[in-house]
């Protein structure tokens, strides 16, 4: 593949999956500021290794590969920040998704509880749900992105949905 062809194909990949990478990044890091950086870094990394990835993909979609890059970069980000804490945990509960005064009130009064709850929801389950619901990936794509078998991925998603439903039901029951 010559350079012009690489650039053209990468440009197509970028246009097709910018929203996917951004959505994944946003739900992983929880704010637009870092999501932008993570998205940019993901495509820069992808460009570096694009030619090899195309060769090794055997024609399969490259979206799982892109998401895996974003996953690794996000993990690096959290690792770096864990080494040098910057903000109190309480401040880490962003309210960017709140849309109504009612939601705002609810978020304000339960932010600490939400943080505790989200910590008890395992990262792999969280990621699987983001890929399934925010990106619309099927089991096979998610399996490739997470480096798991199709069967293990199916079980992971099933358990993630069940656990999330239980947590939400308990919290909603507690509010009534």
């Amino acid at each position: 593949m010559d350079k012009a062809e690489i650039d053209r194909e990468f440009s197509e990949l970028y246009r097709a999956h910018l929203r996917d990478v951004y959505s994944y990044s946003y739900y992983r890091v929880g704010n637009h500021h870092d999501a932008e950086d993570l998205t940019e870094q993901t495509f820069l990394q992808a460009y570096r290794h694009f030619e090899r990835a195309v060769e090794e993909s055997n024609g399969r979609p490259l979206r799982p590969w892109l998401i895996r890059i974003a996953h690794n970069l996000a993990a690096n980000l959290y690792r770096d920040r864990a080494r040098r804490p910057q903000t109190p945990i309480e401040d880490n509960t962003t309210l960017s998704a709140v849309h109504t005064t009612e939601d705002l009130s609810r978020a304000g009064t339960s932010s600490r509880g939400s943080w505790t709850g989200s910590r008890s929801f395992p990262d792999d389950r969280r990621e699987a749900l983001i890929m399934r619901f925010a990106l619309g990936m099927d089991n096979r794509e998610i399996a490739r992105a997470m480096g798991r078998s199709d069967g293990a991925t199916k079980v992971l998603i099933h358990r993630a949905i069940k656990q999330l439903e239980e947590i939400v039901n308990v919290r909603q029951a507690g509010r009534r």
Binding site: Y14, Y27, H33, L95, S96, H99, T101, G117, A134, V168
Partner: protein, 105 residues
């Protein structure tokens, strides 16, 4: 988030909570400019691009528009069915907010 949908199963609530997020309008142009300039660089020159350039997190609160509230005089005339439906919609919306918080960092 629309109040009209009343999902019957939890997967619909998750789908609603984790809707795809559109990148900011200026991101594609900025990224394309960066990528275009990078095509001129040798691969080893890219090593300098590390996550360390990530900026510090900032917590921010999106300004939330106040919701106009109707007059209290008509409240007593609201039928029970409407109340039930409204409560259900509110619960679905609350569940979606909760799901988003739990899944998002």
């Amino acid at each position: 988030m629309s109040d009209h949908a009343a999902p019957d199963n939890f997967e619909d609530i998750i789908r609603r909570a984790l809707a795809p997020v559109e990148p900011p309008e200026d991101l594609p142009a900025r990224l394309e400019t960066t990528l275009r300039s990078l095509t001129e660089l040798a691969a080893d020159e890219l090593e300098g691009w590390e996550l360390s350039s990530m900026r510090d997190p900032r917590n921010w609160v999106r300004p939330v528009a106040a919701v106009a509230i109707g007059t209290a005089a008509g409240a007593g005339l609201i039928v029970l069915g409407w109340r039930r439906q409204h409560r259900r919609q509110r619960n679905v919306r609350a569940a979606a907010v909760e799901v988003r918080r739990l899944v998002r960092r």
